[in-house]
Amino acid sequence: MLSLSSKLIALASRLQSPSRRLLLAAPLGLVLGLVLVAAFGVLADAMDWVPDKSIELAQQQYDEAAAQRLRLWREQLQQLSGESLERQLRGVNQFFNDQVPFVSDAQHWQQDDYWASPFESLGTHGGDCEDYVIAKYYSLVKLGVPVDRLRITYVKALQLNQAHMVLTYFPTPDAVPLVLDNLTDRILLASKRTDLAPVYSFNAEGMWLDKMKGQGILMGNPNKLDRWTDLRVRMNRQGMDL
C-alpha cells in the first residue's frame, strides 16, 4: 500500500515537468486528491473481489473460522494488488497451498469430481487439485493478470499415476508456461516439471461464449454437466463474479 502511494506521488511529480507546469501548476491540490481517490479505489476493488456479503454468508453457512479465512484472503489480495507479476503469482500460489488442505472430492464432497469455488474451498477448509486451480485463477484475474495468459491444464501426475490439474501462465503466447501446482509451492517452468504429462489445456474464456455469459447466470439454470458454467453460477450466488 505504501509503495503504491509513493509510486503515485512520483507519477504526479513527473506530470509537473516544466512543459506542463503552466497547465498543471494551479490544480496541484486536485491532483493530490485524485491520488488519494485512486489509492482508495484499489482498496475498494479488493472489497469487491471478496465482498462483505460473502464473508457474512460464510459465517452463517460455516463458522467464524471460515469467515476469518475469507478475510485473510481479502487482505492477501489487497497486499498483492499493484505488486509485480512475479510476486502476485507466488503470493497467490502460496496462499492457497497453505490455507487449503488437500482433501479428495470423494472424501470431501462425496462426489467423483466436484469443482468447488474459492468460497467453498476456504469455507470448508479443504479441496483437491481443481479447487486450487480455480481459486488461484480467480485471484489472479482479479489482480489484473490478462485472462489470455492463463490456461487451465489437464495433466497426468506421472509418479502418483493420477489425474491432476494445474494452472499455467504464458508470458507470451509461444512461450513455455510457468506451472502453479498444489503439489509444490515452487513455481517452475513446465519443461522442468518432468513429473507431469500435459493432456490438454483450455482457455476459460473460450468455454463461455460471450453472449451466453449473462444469460446462464441470470437464468440460474445452467447445464449441470458443464462444470465451468455450474461453477460460475454458484460463485455468482456467493457474491463473486468469475
Binding site: A190, Y200, S201, G206
Partner: protein
Amino acid sequence: MTLRQQFSLLTSALVLALMTGSLLLTVSNGRAFFQQQLDARAYDAATALALSMSNLAEADEVSLQRQMDVLFDRGFFQRIELHMVSGRVLQRQADAALVHSAPTWFRRWLPLSTEPAEADVVAGWSRLGKVKVVSHTDFAYRDLWAMVRQETLWFVAVAMLALLALQGLLSWMLRPLARVEQQAQALCERRWQLQSDIPKTRELGSMVRAMNRTVSTLKRIFSEQSALAERLREEAFHDAVTGLLNRRGFDQRLEHLLSSGEGYRGVLMLLQLRDFARFNQQQGRQQGDELLQSVAQALVQWLPSEALCGRRTGADFVVFLPGSDQQSAQQRLTHCFEHLASGILNDRQNQVFHLGGVWLEGERGQLSQALSAADEALRHCQRNAQSDCYLDSGNGAKAASQPRSAGLWRQQLQQALEQRDIELLYLPVFTHPGAEQPLQLEVISRVKCGDDWLSGARFWPLAEQHQLASGFDLLIVEAVLEVMLKAMQQGDGLPCCINLSPSTICDEAACQRLLQRLASVPELCPLIAFEVPEFAIAHIELRLQQLATQLAEIGVQLGVDQVGSGRQAFSYLQRLPLNYVRLAGHLNRNCHAAADQRFYLQSMVQIAHSQALSVFAEGLEHEADVAVVREAGVDGLSGYFFSEPWQAPV
C-alpha cells in the same frame, strides 16, 4: 353494422390476435433454439478439432489442414480457421451451403448470429494456436423457414375453420332474433304471429317469450275492442227481439239512401199484425215475441241481401226493397204477401196482417214523406178486415217512365259499354273543413241507358244482374286512368278512389286485365285506391285477399266502404292487407244527438287506427255532425257539407 357482423369482427380479431401471437412466439422460440444449437455445435466442433490437433504426433501444416478439411467437408460449417501462434492462419470458408434456404427478408427479420467458437491447440506444454469454428446458418434457416411456413399454413387452416364454425354458430344463435324481427314486422302489418320454438339461450328465450306475450296481448285487445264495437252496433241499431234493424237504424239507413244524391228506386213496405196487443195479452209475452221472431225470420229468408228490413214498434215491420221499376215492385209486394200468408201467417194462425207499400223514385227525397206515404198505403189496405196488401204508386207523375224488359236492359247496357257512355263525377274527401286540396277524389259513375242517365245506385244492381259489372269496372278504371294521366302531364297528381264490384273481384280474368293495365302505368299506382263494400266481403274474402296482395305489390291502395252498416264481424280488418276504411254514411247522421252512436263511431275509429288504417267518413251534411266526427279522430271527410260531387276533377 349488424350484430352478427360485430360478433364476427370481434371474434375474428381475437382469433387473429391469438394465432399471430402464437406464431410469433413459436418463431422466436424456434430462433432461440436454433441459435443455441448452432453455438453448441460450433463449440463442440472447435473443442473436438482442437483436441484432435493437440494429439497429432507430427503437427505439420499439412496434417493440421487435413484435420480441418475432415470437419469442414461435413458441410455444416461456414468457416474453420487455425490461428497459429506464429501468426500463420490456415482456413476453409464457404459462403452458401444451400441454394434456397430462406428468403432474404426472412433472414433479415430473424438474424442468427454467428459468433466463432474458439479452442486452444497445444503441443505438449506449449501452445500451437487457436481454432475458430463458425457454424453455417443455412441449415438453421432452412428448418426455421419450413417451420414458419407449416405453422402459417396450419394457422390459416385453423383460422378459416374457426371463422366458418363461428359463422355457423352465430347464425344458429341469432336465428331467434331474426324470427322476433319477423314477428315485429308482422305485427306492423297486423298479423299476429307466435313463435312456438323458444330458444334455450336464456336472454333470447325471455325475449321471444316477451314478444309472444306482446303479440297475444295486442291480439286480445283487438278482439275485445272489436267485440265491444260489435255489441254497441247491435244495441244501437238493432232490435233486441228480432235482430232486425230497430227504428233508428232503419230510419238512418233509409234517410241516407234517400238523401245521398245518387238517386233511389224501390218500394217501401209496412207490415202490421192486427191486434197484436191482444195476442200478447191472451198468449203471453213470450208467445208474442216468438211470433215476431218467426215473422222476422220469414222476411229475412225471402228478402234479397240489398233490402233493408226493420221492426219499428210493436208488431210493425218495415222493408225497403230496391227495384228497377214499379211493375216488378207490384209483383214483389204480392209475392211477399203470399209468402207470409201461405207460411208463418197462414189461416190456421188466425192472425190477420196488412202489407202496404209505396213506390219511391227520385234523386233526393225526404224520409218523413216516404214513411207517411207508406203509412197511408197501409191504412188503405187495413180497410179490409182480412189480410191484404196494397201498393201505392207514389207521386204518380214520376211513374211515367216505361218499364223495360230484361232483354231491353241488357241490350241498352251492352250498348253503353260498347259506346263508353259513362260519365264520371268526383266527390272530394278533405282532411278538415277549409282544406284547399282534397285528400282523395271518390269517383262516382253514371251510365247512359237508352235515353236516361242511371245513377250508380240504380245501375250497379242491373249490371250485376246481367253479368256486365266487371266490364263496366274496367271501363271506368280505363276512363279514370286517362283523366289521371292527363292531370299528371299537367303536373297534378290526382289521388282517385274507384269502387270495384264484388263480381269483378271474383272474376280472375278481369282481375288479371286490371293488374296488367295498372302495371303499365306504375307512376299512377300510388295515387289509385280501390274499394269494395263491406257487405260483400264475407262472400269474396279469399279472392279479395289474393287481389289485395297483388295490388299491394304494385303500390295500389285498397279500402272498404260502407263499414259498420252490416253485421259483419270486424276481424276481416286484420286478415286483409287494407289501407283505409270508409265508415257508412248513416253512422254519422245525427250522431251529435246520440251518445251511444258517438261512442260506436269512436270505437270504430279506434279499431281501425289500432290496425294502422285510415278512417274516412262520408255523407256529412251538418256542421254538428262534422264536429263530432272530427272529434272521434276521423282522417278524411266528405259529403254535401263540404262539396257536391265535382263534374271535373280539378
